[in-house]
């Protein structure tokens, strides 16, 4: 893999070192900048619904974008130290529970795209990693990620973000553990176990740090390029609801009081397919319209963790009983989480 290292590395320490102070100055003066634009530049009448909505938007968009840039960059650099091959090596020979916990956490830091789910699954099986552990990885990887974290912090605060991340990890660990305990290996297509690959040796760690910084910038560019539009829409909707009194439109159906709100949200959410950035605007609408937090989180998790396209992809390597168990176990986990938060919060 020595070709991997690009010699053309102009980016180094200096660029982040210059950008960080700029970031800090901007971030901690956002309210002032927003107020300046609204009150002085546009000279809008203060305290009207329209003004406050626009003020919210002008403040919130750069805030979330700045947070995303910083966090995606840091995560991008951290991820450059991980790879699917290294994760596989780390998980080899681990006992069921330890393996599940490790797999869930590695799911956060290993660079992974859902279109690699099958080769990754085959590679893990070949290394003798139990399917329960593999599932912990496959559940955590899309569910718990930096974009979800930043957006939840930005729009709903630290508490909600932490709840989301910790319960997401918990679902990945427990669901994988149960799948492992149920001994469902017989429902993996037979040919999967016959796959023989040239196992790549663990890659060298000698990638220069400047290359990792470059990777960080590329990750920011790639992810922000994909999700910025969802963020604009999400915050615009939030701003609209912020200035105007939220109607309690959905509250009567999907509010706290109704026991069926969580299962309903999951039933609607499971077939849908979206990533964290795409679903959070919808979640912010739901919450503004009176849907309780537990229900909204359950909806968000079921959309991200389970989807029809994913099930169709998994069908290539798994038989129906295993796929259905996987969906049922993850959905039940989300159901429990949704109920608990509707009760507690």
């Amino acid at each position: 893999m020595k070709h991997l290292i690009s010699t053309n590395t102009k980016t180094n320490w200096s660029l982040p070192a210059i950008l960080l102070p700029v970031w800090l100055i901007l971030y901690f003066n956002l309210q002032r900048i927003a107020d300046f634009i609204i009150d002085r530049l546009f000279q809008m009448k203060p305290s009207t619904h329209l003004t406050e909505s626009i003020r919210f938007f002008v403040f919130e968009v750069p805030k979330v974008m700045l947070l995303l840039v910083l966090i995606i960059f840091i995560v991008g650099v951290i991820r450059s130290y991980f790879s699917a091959e290294k994760t596989r090596k780390l998980l080899e020979g681990k006992s069921l529970f330890t393996g599940n916990v490790m797999a869930a956490f590695l799911g956060i830091v290993t660079p992974f795209c859902s279109c690699s789910a099958i080769p990754l699954f085959l590679g893990f099986v070949e290394a003798g990693i139990p399917i329960g552990v593999t599932f912990s990885f496959l559940i955590a990887a899309p569910l718990v990620n930096e974009v979800a974290l930043v957006l939840l912090v930005g729009l709903f605060g630290w508490k909600v973000a932490l709840i989301y991340v910790s319960t997401g990890l918990l679902i990945a660990i427990v669901a994988g553990w149960i799948i492992g305990k149920l001994r469902l290996e017989k429902y993996v297509e037979e040919w999967v176990f016959k796959v023989k690959t040239n196992q790549e040796e663990a890659e060298d760690m000698k990638i220069p740090f400047s290359q990792r910084i470059k990777t960080g910038f590329e990750t920011v560019q790639e992810i922000l390029g994909k999700i910025w539009i969802y963020i604009l829409i999400g915050i615009a909707v939030g701003a609209g609801a912020h200035g105007y009194v939220p109607e309690d439109l959905m509250g009567s159906i999907l509010g706290k009081g109704n026991w069926y709100s969580v299962p309903l949200a999951i039933l609607v959410g499971v077939p849908m397919y979206s990533n964290a950035a795409g679903i959070i605007p919808i979640v912010s609408v739901l919450i503004e319209k009176g849907v309780s937090l537990g229900t909204a989180l359950a909806f968000m998790m079921s959309v991200i963790a389970l989807s029809l396209p994913e099930i169709i992809i998994l069908k290539k390597v798994l038989k129906w009983p295993l796929i259905l168990s996987f969906v049922a176990i993850v959905a039940s986990g989300i159901l429990v989480i949704g109920f608990i938060f509707n009760l507690v919060l």
């Binding site: 070709h3 690009s6 010699t7 099958i118 690959t197 040239n198 790549e200």
Partner: protein, 77 residues
């Protein structure tokens, strides 16, 4: 030179294929580009994260899309 683009058809894989074609055209190197979509073929090459790029049997890139400049550099080695 034989260049294989490994990928199961997601957007990233198509991007890598197009960038590779462009890199080959711009550098003027004689190369055949083969798109490998078969999962077993991909696994035989020892790749777990697509898209990946294989030049003359060596895996030179995997799990991400490289820039045009980077691919040019890879094929000129």
């Amino acid at each position: 030179m034989e260049i294989k683009v490994l990928g199961t058809g997601c957007r990233k894989c198509r991007t890598l294929e197009e960038t590779t074609k462009q890199a080959v055209a711009e550098t003027g190197i004689e190369a055949t580009i083969i798109k490998v979509e078969d999962m077993l073929e991909i696994m035989k090459l020892g790749v777990m994260t697509t898209p990946a790029l294989v030049i003359d049997g060596n895996v030179v890139l995997k799990g991400r899309v490289a820039s045009l400049a980077e691919i040019k550099e890879l094929i000129q080695k």
